[in-house]
């Protein structure tokens, strides 16, 4: 039994099928990137797994059938970070992070002191230390995403679903966030499904990449072990004519760089 299994997942909007009979499995402690062209169904896949969108097929996390769960049980098992949080009222960073404890609280219970301490330590961990009492609305977009990430991490859920967390972030925050998620997964034996816009970020910070096309997974990439040419071939279907190269940065770390071929001749 794998840690997390998706079986025959299909989602349709009316007659239009977005995802058709999609299946995959993941191990624990894995950070999995989802790549695909715009409209390929990345967000739909994440929303279907966490039950926001109606779907057929099953998602099983450690023998728990996610489809059967109440929102509260589900929230304990997996957590979802939208592209942008809908928070639009004045609220402190600490109170925002404390929202994450909701599934662990009784109906009329309020967050305890320990929960507050844990929240503050996570705020520290995501790099927002000293901003506990700052108004969430006054944060930069990147800081907001980090704050929401902290809210997600407090729940100790085993499955993290992140929808393009890097889209609002600048270069520095992108890598910081992904490495944070990756090390979190290793420490807590959790798995993260991250839909990503930036293929280079995906290649350099995920354990595995799922490529979405035409409603199912067209191919899978293991950036650490696959050969550059096989990865190039798979990525071509999404990004057109590209080439991959190994580069070494000044501190000696090896990275994969993606370059566009036929730069000024239109696509392909």
């Amino acid at each position: 039994m794998k840690f997390f299994t998706v079986n025959d997942l299909s989602v349709s909007y009316g007659k239009h099928e977005i995802l058709s009979r999609l299946s995959f499995e993941t191990n624990t402690s894995e950070t999995i990137g989802i790549l695909g062209a715009n409209g390929s169904g990345k967000t739909t896949l994440l929303k279907a797994i966490c039950g926001i969108l109606p779907h057929t097929g099953t998602c099983i996390l450690e023998e728990n059938l996610l489809e059967n769960k109440t929102p509260k049980q589900l929230a304990k098992l997996c957590s979802y970070i939208p592209q942008r949080s809908g928070i639009s009222i004045d609220i402190s960073v600490l109170d925002t992070v404390l929202m994450g404890f909701h599934p662990h609280l009784g109906f009329l219970e309020h967050p305890s002191m320990e929960m507050k301490e844990k929240a503050i330590s996570l705020i520290y961990k995501v790099g927002l230390s000293g901003k506990e009492h700052t108004n969430y609305l006054h944060l930069s977009e990147g800081q907001k995403q980090l704050c929401i990430l902290a809210r997600t991490l407090v729940t100790d859920s085993k499955l993290l679903l992140l929808d393009e967390p890097e889209s609002a972030l600048d270069f520095h925050f992108r890598y910081q966030m992904l490495s944070l998620i990756r090390s979190w997964n290793r420490e807590n034996h959790s798995t993260a499904l991250v839909s990503l816009h930036d293929p280079m970020l995906a290649l350099n910070s995920c354990d595995r990449l799922l490529l979405l096309a035409d409603g199912h997974i067209s191919s899978t990439i293991f950036p650490q072990t696959d050969t550059l040419s096989s990865m190039e071939e798979k990525l071509c279907h999404i990004y057109g004519n590209i080439s991959l190269h190994h580069c070494v940065n000044k501190s000696g770390q090896k990275q994969i760089v993606m370059l566009k071929e036929n730069l000024f001749e239109g696509t392909d």
Binding site: K47, C50, G51, I52, T70, P71, K72, L74, A75, K76, S79, Y80, P82, S85, G86, I87, S88, I89, D90, I91, S92, D95, M99, G100, H102, P103, L105, L108, H110, H133, T134, N135, H138
Partner: protein, 326 residues
Amino acid sequence: MTLNTVKNKYYYIAGAILLIALAIVSLYVGKYPLSMEKLLSGDDLQWRVFLTLRLSRTVVGIMGGFALGVAGFVFQTVFRNALASPDIIGVSSGASAGAAAGILFLSGSLAITLSSFAGALGAVVIALFLSSLDKSGKNSTIVLAGIAVHSLAQTFLMCLKLTADPERELASIEYWIMGSLSGISGYSITANLILCILCLCILFLLHRHVIILSTEEGEARMLGVSVTTLRLIVLLTATLTVASIISLTGLISFIGLLAPHTARLLTKENRIQTMLLSGFLGGILLCGADILARSVSATELPVSIFTSLLGAPFLIYLILQERRSL
């Protein structure tokens, strides 16, 4: 910008003190000549006027304003809309139509209270039912359904007004819509106040949930909230709070809008204390407005005139202040 909790503490205390002070003033102001000596000497009539009229009116002023302020806070938060008010899901127009129907077809103030209460509740239940037909459970669906019910209730009200006798029934309907605390007496408020306090308790207990509802639907759901059910409970409770008050007093405008706005502008927070401050401000507004409504002229004036005359300039001042600080 750090949220200033210390400064905010002073706002809460100042709000509470001002509310108490106004309550005391309200006990002193009135048409009937009450005197402390006669009250202390146990004059039966004086006591009766004091308890059933003066005190009741003060209590309804404070509780009513408090309830409208808190409910307004809840509506604005749940709908993520600074302009949301109980009217957004048809509470006020439903209550008006109900009251008008009561004035036309029933008799007695109790019947009018009941029918306006039923009208408010009915409108909201219809609006929520209509919105539940759309399974996506979006806020905007509720707002749309609310607008539909609101205009339906308005049409119904217009029809009732058209058939009303202009000399008496129409005047009654107009007076009801303007709102007044003049008819309040200790004999008719108990049930409404109990319901109001009960609902207020529930709203305060659910504060944490109300805040989570202010995020987007999917987000709230992933925080472990059964959005549709919880929103239904919260909206119905807030509606009951409002209905229990306006069925006694008639429509009271602006408090549900002004009080929460002001509380938020002052504190820049949305904590449970902010909700309390919103209630305090509502109580201050209604009690203050009612003191003026019964004392500036020999006759009773509609209380809504004063709620907005007192509240609006203050709100404008706060907004200008806000602009300057940016």
